[in-house]
């Protein structure tokens, strides 16, 4: 999962770099273990943009279903974000399982 050639992680990295560029910040390497807030400096608006960009590439937005559930999904790192996309929709997007 943490291999650099992982297509999902690559898509996430591309999206995050675009968010950084669009907001006038320097695009930098994105690693799975990085904290979205502390290491990459993403705020909730940046994350919201990342998720829309990813929905366009991956065709799904796991947070739309999760937001309707009883609990918010904790997404702190790049790997957390990838995990949210990895769970198959058929398994139910209940946030408690994450």
């Amino acid at each position: 999962m943490k291999s650099p050639s992982d297509p999902l992680l690559e898509a996430i990295a591309v999206a995050i770099r675009q968010v950084l560029r669009d907001t006038g910040r320097e695009a930098r390497p994105v690693e799975p273990g990085m904290s979205l807030a502390a290491d990459l400096g993403l705020d909730s608006l940046d994350l919201a943009q990342t998720i829309v960009l990813l929905e366009r590439v991956l065709g799904s937005d796991p947070f739309r279903a999760a937001a309707a559930g009883p609990e918010r999904v904790p997404v702190r790192t790049v790997a957390d974000l990838a995990a949210a996309y990895r769970r198959p929709a058929a398994a139910g997007n209940s946030p408690t399982e994450i």
């Binding site: 907001t23 006038g24 909730s44 608006l45 919201a48 998720i51 829309v52 960009l53 947070f63 999760a66």
Partner: protein, 452 residues
């Protein structure tokens, strides 16, 4: 060219009779005079003269008189049919409803009314209730545009439907372009105005900018009523050569607020044309007109009685209030205004406001800023749903063709976002910026503000 007709005797006619009286009178004076040019600027345009229109009205009136339906739902595609139905129903005191495509479901509210389409036949049902001719004026039912909320039916008297029509002689015999949907309030105002004054109603084959411009050129239109969005499209996407040959005398803007740069563009593209902004809603009808070519309206209009009797007020949050007359209640318009110097300018519809993580963004402000970026021809800013922040600001951008020297789509994108970062709060900066070939408009000719 049509010759001038002598004044049409409308002053003595009751409001509900006026359309039929005007058309019949012009038909008597000059039967071949063109009333409607349909499909203008396209492959197969056709002209309908006043005599043909008058004959259709007389025939339909006879049918209405024998059937006496409770009401008529006008479900015709051709403008000339809509005109005939309106005129005949008016003079026969039969209530009539005009339902635009997106309001068709509301027909259930008009139970037991009969439907009349382009065949102009009044269906006969011997068991149906009859409505005998009554002296009281009948109503006209129109659906709201649904720009902000689902369409709903609004009842008008013929007096209020015709209240804004200009009948003075200077308005006679002009060519009017109909870019609005003929079944909506704004569109009805155009065909009523044209045909009450012996004018020509020019209906372009489509809303394509070149088709509209060709209609203006070919049919020598004098008046162009349009939304700012439709006018802007003529400038951004219309053929330069056609634009240079299109000579209109008047532009009447309505439906949305016009910004300063657009008004300047209009003056440059149509030198000598009078540009009037009309503030009207389907519910209230026309409230006021501004003819000084500046955006918004003079600040000292607030709290004063305007020509026509309306009084403007403002809620604390900036929403414009309208009181049509002393006897009527004050109505909240949903339009937000802001004081800028000696003017109140429109900042947008209350329902257009995009809420990003609890903070409000006025899409028009973002659009005005984006439009000032070199390389951007047209733009739409709207709210995109987000599970994280509620909504995100999203923009669709049409690039100029050609792009400015050394410009690339990516450089325009970077410049646009930089301009927004410099001029807007962080939550107002578009997070999604897409290049599109053209900006979609809704059936009312306005820009939709929500993701579709």
């Amino acid at each position: 060219m049509n010759t001038q007709v002598s004044p049409i005797p409308l002053a003595d006619a009751a409001a509900e009779d006026r359309l039929a009286v005007a058309i019949t009178d012009v038909a008597r004076q000059s039967p071949d005079r063109v009333a409607i040019v349909a499909g203008a600027g396209g492959e197969a345009s056709r002209s309908i003269d006043y005599a043909t229109l008058a004959a259709a009205i007389v025939k339909l009136e006879a049918a209405l008189d024998s059937v006496r339906p409770l009401g008529v739902v006008a479900r015709a595609k051709r403008v000339e049919s809509l005109v005939a139905i309106a005129a005949a129903c008016g003079r026969q005191h039969v209530p009539v409803a005009f339902l635009a495509e997106d309001a068709r479901d509301l027909v259930g509210e008009l139970r037991d009314w009969v439907t009349v389409d382009d065949a102009l036949v009044v269906p006969v049902d011997p068991t149906a209730a009859r409505r005998e001719f009554e002296a009281v004026a009948t109503q006209v039912v129109v659906a709201t545009s649904g720009t902000s909320g689902p369409p709903k039916l609004v009842e008008h008297s013929w007096d209020s439907l015709l209240a804004a029509a200009r009948l003075a002689e200077q308005w006679h015999g002009l060519g009017w372009i109909l870019v609005y949907d003929a079944t909506r309030w704004a569109g009805m105002q155009v065909w009523l105005q044209a045909l009450l004054t012996g004018g020509r109603l020019i209906v372009p084959a489509s809303r394509d900018p070149d088709v509209v411009l060709r209609s203006i050129v070919d049919e020598q239109a004098a008046v162009l009523p349009a939304t700012p969005t439709l006018l802007r499209r003529l400038f951004s996407a219309g053929d330069r050569g056609l634009l240079a040959r299109a000579k209109v005398e008047r532009i009447t803007l309505g439906g949305e607020a016009a910004d300063g740069p657009l008004l300047e563009q209009a003056r440059a593209a149509f030198p000598g044309a009078k540009v009037t902004q009309v503030y009207a809603t389907t519910e209230l009808g026309e409230v006021f007109r501004v003819a000084d070519g500046l955006p918004g309206f003079p600040a000292n209009w607030l709290g004063r009685s305007l020509p026509g009797g309306a009084r403007l007020g403002m809620r604390r949050d900036g929403e414009l209030l309208v009181q049509l007359s002393r006897d009527t209640a004050e109505v909240a318009t949903g339009d937000l205004v802001e004081r800028r110097g000696g003017r109140y300018e429109f900042t947008g519809r209350r329902s257009d406001v995009i809420v990003v993580g609890g903070a409000k963004v006025f899409p028009r402000r973002v659009e005005d800023l984006l439009r000032s970026v070199p390389g951007i021809a047209d733009v739409r800013v709207y709210g995109m749903p987000s599970a994280i922040t509620g909504e995100l600001v999203a923009a669709e951008v049409v690039l100029t063709d050609p792009l400015p020297a050394d410009g690339t789509p990516e450089s325009v994108r970077a410049a646009a976002l930089a301009a927004c970062r410099a001029g807007l709060e962080p939550h107002g900066v578009p997070r999604i910026l897409d290049f599109v070939k053209k900006i979609a408009t809704n059936p009312a000719g306005k820009v939709p503000r929500r993701a579709s």
